[in-house]
Structures are given as structure tokens and as C-alpha cells.
């Protein structure tokens, strides 16, 4: 099961401190764990939401470090792509998986799979013994759709103003955080429904 999906910056942002990451989109599936384990059961709903957002920010920062380290080590030159070159951008993307230990920031262990496309990262946080092959494929698929339908290789801000498109995408490809074993026909069926929505 996927705990959350987020899109966040990995390059420097002028209004943020170095090392910080701006979260452009985040979706947490399920309730805030603190409410259930009794550890934070005295927290009100506002505090729970705050806690949830803080945890997402922590993951964004961790992944940012991981991506930076990976890119430095690989020594590859970043290829700039523009609108229309989404498939190239995806091919050039770096990927990796980062272990989030206990308390970092969730009580239990998690794995954070990430895909770094130029200045942004697309991250899936899963349970520790998740099927990584399936998660990797799902992440690539979601990223491709995001790049295409939100015109993310361009300068616009659709990722902020048309975030309902990401919601619908996740609703079909990752309903409530469930990774699906979709063969090409199942995928085609879902993508047809998506295309209808995106055309609006």
C-alpha cells in the first residue's frame, strides 16, 4: 500500500533555505496514524493535519538529499527538455529508493521511491515490503501522465491550479493508495477515462 504520493522541488528555491524542498502536491492515503495508535490521540483534528503536512515535508527533504547525492555521484549532465519531450524527460530521469527508518517520520519503517525529472521529484512512500517492481512501474506511469496533462515541462503553474487532474489520475491508477497489477489492456481502459476527463 502506498502511504503518500508527492511532487516536490529538488533544485534550489530562492525563497527557501538550502536543502529545503517546496511541496507542490501531496496526497496522503488513509488517516493520520497518530490518531489510532494512542500516541497522539489527544491531538485535535487541526493538529493532526499539521502533523501530516510536517511529515510530508520531512520526506520531501530526505528525498531531495538522496536525489542530490545520486546526481552528484553519477556525474551526468542534466538534459533540459521542453513541452512535447515528456518521454525523453522520463527516459533521462534518475530514480532510486530511500529507506525511511522508524520515526523518520512515521512510526514504522517506510520506503520512499523517487523519480527525479530535472528540477522536480515524484515520490511514492510505501510500506517496507512492498512489491518494488510494481511500485516503480506505477510511479513511472503516474509521472508520465503528470508531465503530459499538467504541462510540467513548461513554465506554467497547472500543477497548482489543476491539481484535480492529479487527484483523478491517482483515483484511477492508485485508488486509495492501492498498487494495481495492470496489464496494458486494463491500463488502456483507465487511460481512456482519464483522457475524457483531461479534455474538459
Amino acid at each position: 500500500m502506498v502511504q503518500c504520493f508527492l511532487i516536490h522541488t529538488i533544485g534550489p528555491v530562492s525563497t527557501l533555505a538550502p536543502g529545503e524542498s517546496r511541496v507542490l502536491y501531496s496526497r496522503v492515503f488513509g488517516p493520520e496514524e497518530g490518531a489510532l495508535t494512542g500516541a497522539d490521540s489527544e491531538l485535535g483534528p487541526e493538529q493532526r493535519r499539521l502533523l501530516r503536512n510536517e511529515k510530508v515535508a520531512v520526506v520531501a527533504r530526505q528525498v531531495r538529499s538522496a536525489v542530490t547525492l545520486s546526481r552528484e555521484a553519477s556525474g551526468r549532465v542534466l538534459v533540459e527538455t521542453v513541452l512535447g519531450e515528456e518521454l525523453v524527460a522520463l527516459q533521462e530521469a534518475d530514480s532510486g529508493v530511500q529507506r525511511l527508518g522508524r520515526g523518520e517520520p512515521w512510526t514504522g519503517e517506510r520506503s520512499a521511491l523517487w523519480l527525479g525529472v530535472q528540477g522536480l521529484a515524484f515520490t511514492l512512500v510505501t510500506e517496507p515490503h512492498e512489491n518494488l517492481l510494481l511500485a516503480e512501474g506505477t510511479l513511472k506511469n503516474i509521472t508520465r501522465h503528470c508531465l503530459e496533462h499538467l504541462r510540467m515541462l513548461g513554465p506554467g503553474s497547472e500543477v497548482l491550479l489543476k491539481s484535480d487532474r492529479i487527484d483523478v489520475l491517482l483515483h484511477r491508477l492508485l485508488p486509495h493508495g492501492q498498487l494495481l497489477f495492470l496489464n496494458h489492456r486494463f491500463t488502456q481502459s483507465l487511460e481512456k477515462e482519464l483522457a475524457n476527463y483531461m479534455a474538459q
Binding site: F29, A35, E127, L132, E136, H176
Partner: protein, 717 residues
């Protein structure tokens, strides 16, 4: 990609003024009371979502607006409105205050979106139980053929991830039955193809045809996720959702070692029975099994079918990845159900143990896998978590030390790739990657290999790993020494000595590694002094090789020190006089050699002198030999010494040792002190402990009152 425009949009959304915000709320409320919902409503909702989501603090909406949004979310038929309103509601909370009590009822009839909303706002286990009950009731209530849209299975999977107890035993039984139906008995007809009859539907309904396998053949057995069709029916979608959560479901509710309740004890005998019945089950006998066991049986069948289907050659390239993922999942399920161990290790052992002995499997996992797989981040991640659960200490050490070289050899654009291909060098590369003992002259020719790799020495990847390796080694040694297995530690000492000369010549790298090795050699020998006697042959060989003085001074002085300190019968009864003598002679030879030709560092000389003195104190007939050399020092025969300071240091040490050795018994107790001296436990000694005890008691009982204060002279004894 991420522009200044986007950043300023976020800033605006965060910093919107209160008055402006209220005006915006009123405008949207008015828009939502209208009948038509045009693009401006969509626009407003999108902006509202941005405003709410851009800050981590929660903004609450006016009551009326919230009510409109909820009503739209629950009852609208326009998907975009449903998605937007539920996104907005997720970023806020129900208004607080009198009369504002939102219950589950307000979100009915449940749809996938409203259920997600309820789930995200769940504040307790009771909330989750209530939601799951509602979901299951709607499962019963819906006509067959409309289940998939509710996403009941994904929702339930999320709920049981956080709170497995939210499903009662009855719920689990009910769902087990439904899962069996969906997994094993989904239709094999292509779904969703309309009949061609039109309004006057006669018997001319077009036959939809069978679903197909991934290689194009007609489906030969029951429907699985690896079957394709033009369109899918509802129960085929449910087949997909069922398999997607199956492993997690089985782990949560079919734990074979769960012996908490008496019913589970019964389950276990049925578990054993069903493992046998898996192989030979017929449908008639399987119907007699209870629902949970039937699900288990059908799961095995499904997985076996997937394994068979994974062999087929796919027509669409993208399906190859899915086949692999399905294969992994199927193996995990099959393995998991047989043993309670959740790690990949048991999957490997189960899958492979039928063909290979376990030792071969482990050698593969710890030898080949790290070398082959660390280029693939996903496989490396899995292997790391696997290694964390097992120990393979010696091979780990070798692999870690070689990481830097490995990194070099794996780099792209390595021109010496040609060298890799040449048969002469291939053996060397394989030796490096295997971490096994080389044959014949492989060790000597390693320097050839390192020369080849030097062109990669300034790659950032290589520098990074050169920086990490010493740290990893520290951690490794700190962990390994807690395992007090002497045999293993003896092996580590050997690896230390051997690999210290087989390092890639990157600035500071070699020095760092030597420093780490020296530090840990000391620690190891301090913890287990008998290691020195045990490994005396190799240590002596190392200490006797004068070239080591120049190439690894740090490590050399430490080896000399441990020999001097621990080669004693008080640390190990196997230490014979002959051993002490041969060690003495080896060190003496080195000392003579370095002082007669060349300029050795004073540190090396003083450590050799100290070691010789210590050894001599244990075997008194050696004393005259070392005293002779020391007296020469006193008379100033230090031509080999560099600076004035060095001369002083060496001569002073020589003096001290010479004076000490004039009194052999004193020398013995100073240079080979009994453990009582080096690790005092005065508080345990009956006599020595009394004064400190009295002092402590007085301190505790004596109240610092100014009227009765008296100096506590009586406690000094």
C-alpha cells in the same frame, strides 16, 4: 519546470488577507447556489483548493459554504465537481461550533470519493470500524456488476493497514468468500461488449469471445491479471483488485504462527491440511473447507497460474515488467503462506532450496548479488534489507574494502573496459568482484588492476565512496566486536593485515583506511588478547617485513605494539618461551636493519624498543641483548635520527627502558602488569573498599546543618 511564477502564486495564496478571503468565500457560496456550474465555478474551486492547501495550518470554511460543498460532493453527477469538492474538503475540517456535528450519515450514499474523505478525517479506531461496516453493508446492498466503482477493496486494504481489528471475524469470513469468487470464478468472456440487437433485442446478441493470454492465445484457464480483453466486466475488475490486495490480506488475517486464540489453534491444523490439499484439491473436497482455508487454497492456485503465465512471450513490451512483478508477488505469497518469516530471504530459500543446497544460495546472495546488483537502486535496496537480517561478516568486510574499486570498475566510459575484456586481466577483475581468495599470483597483480583503474580516481562517485568506506568500516568493526566469536575475529585480523596493501591509491584514502584498521586492531586485541598469540605467525610475518614500515607506518606501529603488549603467558597460556624469543628476534632484526640503513621514523623506533623491552622482561635471558642496544643509544649512536626533537625522544625512551631493565622483576611488573593493575576494581576488594564505603555512607547520612556541622575528619583513614 518550477518557475518563479509558481512560487509567487503559492506566496499569494498563503498571504491572502482575511477580508479578501471572506469576500471570496461569499462569491463561491453564491456561485454554488446557482443551478448551472460553468467554468467559473470550476475555476473558483481550484483557487479555493490552492488557498487551503498552500498552508500547513488549517483554515475552516463558513458553515454555509461547507454545507454546499459537502452536498455537491455527495450528490453531484459531474466528476470534476466531485473531485474538486472532495479535494477542498480534505484540506479543511468540518466547521466547529454548536449544531455542527457531522456524522457518517452526512456522507451517504458512500462513493469512492466520499469514503476517501471520511477515511482521511478518521480520528479513532471506532471511526474506521464504522466506515468498514458501512462499506461492507453497501457491498451486500449493491447489485452485482457495480462493485468495482466503489473501490471497496482498495479502501478496505487501507483501513486494515492502519487498523486490522476494524474488521470483525464475520467480516473477514464474508470477504474471504467474496474474494474466492472474484479470484477463481471471474468470467472468462470479454466483458462490456454491447449487444448488436438495439431496441428489438433478438437472439442476435454478438458473442463477445474469450479473453486472451498475454501472448495472444485464447485463455486456457481461469481469469487472472495476466489476461487481456477489449473491455473488462465488473467481476474481472474485482479480480484485479482482489489479487492486488491478496498478499497483504493473507499476511493480516492468515498468519500461521498466530496462536492468540483457540480458534487459531484449530486453524493451524487446517493450515497443514490445506497445504497438502493444495496439490491435490478437487473442487468438491475444497467446498468442504472453511472460507479462510478455501481462500488460501484458491490463492495458491492463482499464484501457480501466474507463474505459468509469466513464462509466456508477451506481445506488448510493457507487459514484461508486469509479468516480473506478478512472478515476484506470486512467489512471495506462496512462500509467505508456508513460513511466517516475512523477508525476501525466505522467498529465496523456498524458491531455490528445491534445487540448490542452502550454502550455495547464500554464497550467491552475499557474494555475487552485491557485486552484480548495486548498480540497480531497487535491487540494491532489497539486498541491503536482506543483509540487515543476516550476518556474513568476513565477506562483508572484503566487499566494503573493495567498494571503492568496485565503484571505479563499474563507471561508465571506462577506457580500461578493453582491459576488462582481455583474458589476462579478466581474472583480476573477477577476483575483485568475487571477493574470494585469488589463485596463484592474483594478489600481486592487483596493483596492475589498480593502475588500470586510476583514471577513474577523480570521479565524484569514486570520491564519495572513498569517503564513505572508512565510516562503513568503523561501523562494521564496532558491530562485529559485539559478536564474541573468536574464530571470526581471528579471521578479521588476517583480512586486516592482508587487505591493507591492496587498496586503491587515492589521496588520503589509503591513510584513512590504515587509520581505521589500526584503531580496530587495537580494540580487537584489547578485548581478546589471546588473538595475538593465536595469530602470532601472521602478525610476526607482518612485523618482520621491513617494507611495511614505509608503506603503512601507522598500522605497523600498532602491530608492533600489540605484539609487545599481549604476547605473554598472562594473556594466553599457550604463549611459550620459544614464541616470545622468536618474536623478539624478528623485531630485533628489523630494528637493526632500519637503524643501520635509512632514516626510520622515531615513532617506529620507540615502539620497537618498547616492544622488545616488554618481551625481554618476560624472558630474562633476552635482557642483555636489548640492554646492549639501549646503551649504544645512550652513547649517542643516533646518526639515523632526523631532527633534534626526535633524538631527544628516542634517547629519553631508551634511557627509561634501560634503567627499568636493570631491575628485571620490576621491569616485569611495569611492562607486563597483572590485570589487577590495568583494570582496578578497588570497590570489590574487602580491604581497599572500606574507606570509600565509609565516606559514601557518611556523605549520604550526614545532613548539612549549620548548627551541627562538624568537620568530617573521622572518615579519613
Amino acid at each position: 519546470m518550477y518557475s518563479a511564477g509558481t512560487e509567487s502564486l503559492i506566496k499569494q495564496a498563503r498571504e491572502i488577507g482575511e477580508a479578501e478571503l471572506q469576500k471570496f468565500y461569499s462569491r463561491i457560496t453564491k456561485q454554488l447556489t446557482g443551478k448551472e456550474y460553468g467554468h467559473d465555478v470550476i475555476d473558483s474551486l481550484q483557487r479555493l483548493h490552492l488557498i487551503l492547501a498552500s498552508t500547513k495550518y488549517t483554515r475552516r470554511l463558513p458553515v454555509e459554504l461547507h454545507r454546499h460543498l459537502l452536498s455537491l460532493c455527495v450528490s453531484s453527477s459531474v466528476e470534476q465537481l466531485i473531485v474538486l469538492t472532495s479535494a477542498v474538503l480534505r484540506e479543511t475540517l468540518p466547521p466547529s461550533g454548536p449544531g455542527q456535528n457531522y456524522t457518517l450519515h452526512d456522507y451517504s450514499p458512500l462513493t469512492s470519493q466520499t469514503a476517501a474523505l471520511v477515511l482521511s478525517q478518521a480520528g479513532s479506531k471506532e471511526d474506521l470500524s464504522a466506515l468498514s461496516s458501512l462499506l461492507l453493508r453497501s457491498l451486500e446492498g449493491r447489485p452485482a456488476g457495480t462493485h468495482s466503482h466503489l473501490h471497496i477493496l482498495p479502501l478496505l486494504n487501507t483501513i486494515i493497514t492502519y487498523c486490522p481489528e476494524s474488521l470483525t471475524e464475520d467480516h473477514v469470513t464474508l470477504l474471504s468468500k467474496r474474494l474466492v469468487d472474484w479470484l477463481r470464478y471471474a468470467s472468462v468472456q470479454q466483458g462490456g461488449v454491447a449487444s448488436s440487437g438495439g431496441f428489438f433485442t433478438g437472439p442476435r446478441i454478438r458473442q463477445p469471445g474469450q479473453v486472451a493470454e498475454l501472448d495472444g492465445c485464447v485463455c486456457g484457464d481461469f481469469f487472472t491479471v495476466l489476461c487481456v480483453s477489449q473491455a473488462f466486466s465488473d467481476d474481472q475488475w474485482m479480480n484485479l483488485y482482489s489479487f492486488s490486495l491478496l498478499r497483504h490480506w493473507l499476511i493480516t488475517y492468515h498468519n500461521a504462527t498466530d496462536g492468540n486464540t483457540s480458534t487459531d489453534a484449530d486453524d493451524r491444523s487446517e493450515v497443514d491440511g490445506s497445504v497438502v490439499s493444495m496439490v491435490s484439491a478437487t473442487s468438491s473436497t475444497s467446498r468442504l473447507l472453511p472460507p479462510k482455508e478455501r481462500l488460501r487454497e484458491k490463492s495458491f492456485l492463482y499464484c501457480q497460474r501466474l507463474i505459468e503465465q509469466s513464462d509466456r512471450k508477451v506481445l506488448k513490451r510493457t507487459d514484461t515488467d508486469l509479468q516480473k512483478a506478478c512472478l515476484v508477488e506470486a512467489l512471495c505469497i506462496l512462500d509467505r503462506a508456508e513460513s511466517p518469516c516475512p523477508s525476501l530471504s525466505s522467498t529465496l530459500t523456498t524458491g531455490l532450496r528445491q534445487r540448490w543446497p542452502v550454502s550455495v544460495v547464500w554464497r550467491c546472495v552475499f557474494g555475487v548479488l552485491p557485486a552484480e546488483c548495486f548498480n540497480d537502486p531497487y535491487l540494491a535496496h532489497e539486498t541491503l534489507s536482506l543483509h540487515q537480517s543476516q550476518s556474513a561478516a568476513a565477506s562483508h568486510l572484503r566487499t566494503t574494502v573493495h567498494t571503492t574499486s568496485l565503484t571505479c570498475s563499474r563507471g561508465r566510459g571506462l577506457s580500461s573496459l578493453e582491459a576488462f575484456r582481455s583474458p589476462a586481466h579478466r581474472g583480476l577483475f573477477l577476483f575483485l568482484l568475487r571477493g574470494e581468495a585469488g589463485s596463484g599470483d592474483t594478489m600481486d597483480r592487483l596493483s596492475v588492476l589498480h593502475d588500470l583503474l586510476m583514471e577513474a580516481a577523480d570521479w565524484s562517485r569514486v570520491i564519495q565512496s572513498a569517503q564513505s568506506v572508512p565510516v562503513l568500516l568503523h561501523v562494521y568493526f564496532n558491530t562485529v566486536t559485539t559478536v564474541s566469536d573468536e574464530r571470526l575475529l581471528a579471521q578479521l585480523v588476517l583480512v586486516l593485515l592482508e587487505r591493507s596493501s591492496l587498496l586503491l591509491n587515492i589521496p588520503r584514502y589509503t591513510a584513512e583506511i590504515h587509520r581505521v584498521f589500526s584503531h580496530h586492531l587495537l580494540k580487537l586485541c584489547k578485548l581478546h588478547p589471546s588473538l595475538v598469540v593465536d595469530q602470532s605467525r601472521e602478525l610476526l610475518e607482518f612485523a618482520g617485513t621491513t617494507t611495511n614500515i614505509h608503506s603503512k607506518e601507522d598500522l605497523y606501529t600498532h602491530v608492533v605494539w600489540v605484539l609487545g603488549e599481549y604476547l605473554s603467558v598472562s594473556y594466553d597460556s599457550r604463549c611459550s618461551v620459544d614464541l616470545v624469543t622468536s618474536c623478539f628476534e624478528a623485531l630485533e632484526a628489523v630494528l637493526f636493519e632500519v637503524t643501520s640503513s635509512g632514516s626510520p621514523s622515531p615513532r617506529v623506533v620507540t615502539s620497537l624498543l618498547s616492544a622488545l623491552a616488554k618481551l625481554a622482561s618476560r624472558s630474562h635471558d633476552l635482557i642483555p641483548r636489548v640492554s646492549l642496544f639501549l646503551s649504544k643509544l645512550r652513547s649517542g649512536a643516533v646518526s639515523w635520527c632526523g631532527s633534534e626533537e626526535d633524538v631527544v625522544a628516542v634517547v629519553t625512551r631508551g634511557e627509561e627502558l634501560w634503567s627499568l631493565l636493570k631491575l628485571p622483576s620490576v621491569a616485569l611488573s611495569v611492562l607486563t602488569p597483572p590485570s589487577l593493575v590495568t583494570a582496578p576494581h578497588w570497590h570489590r576488594d574487602t580491604n581497599a573498599a572500606l574507606p570509600p564505603r565509609l565516606r559514601t555512607l557518611t556523605g549520604l547520612t550526614h545532613t548539612p546543618d549549620t548548627h551541627t556541622h562538624t568537620p568530617d575528619t573521622h572518615t579519613h583513614t
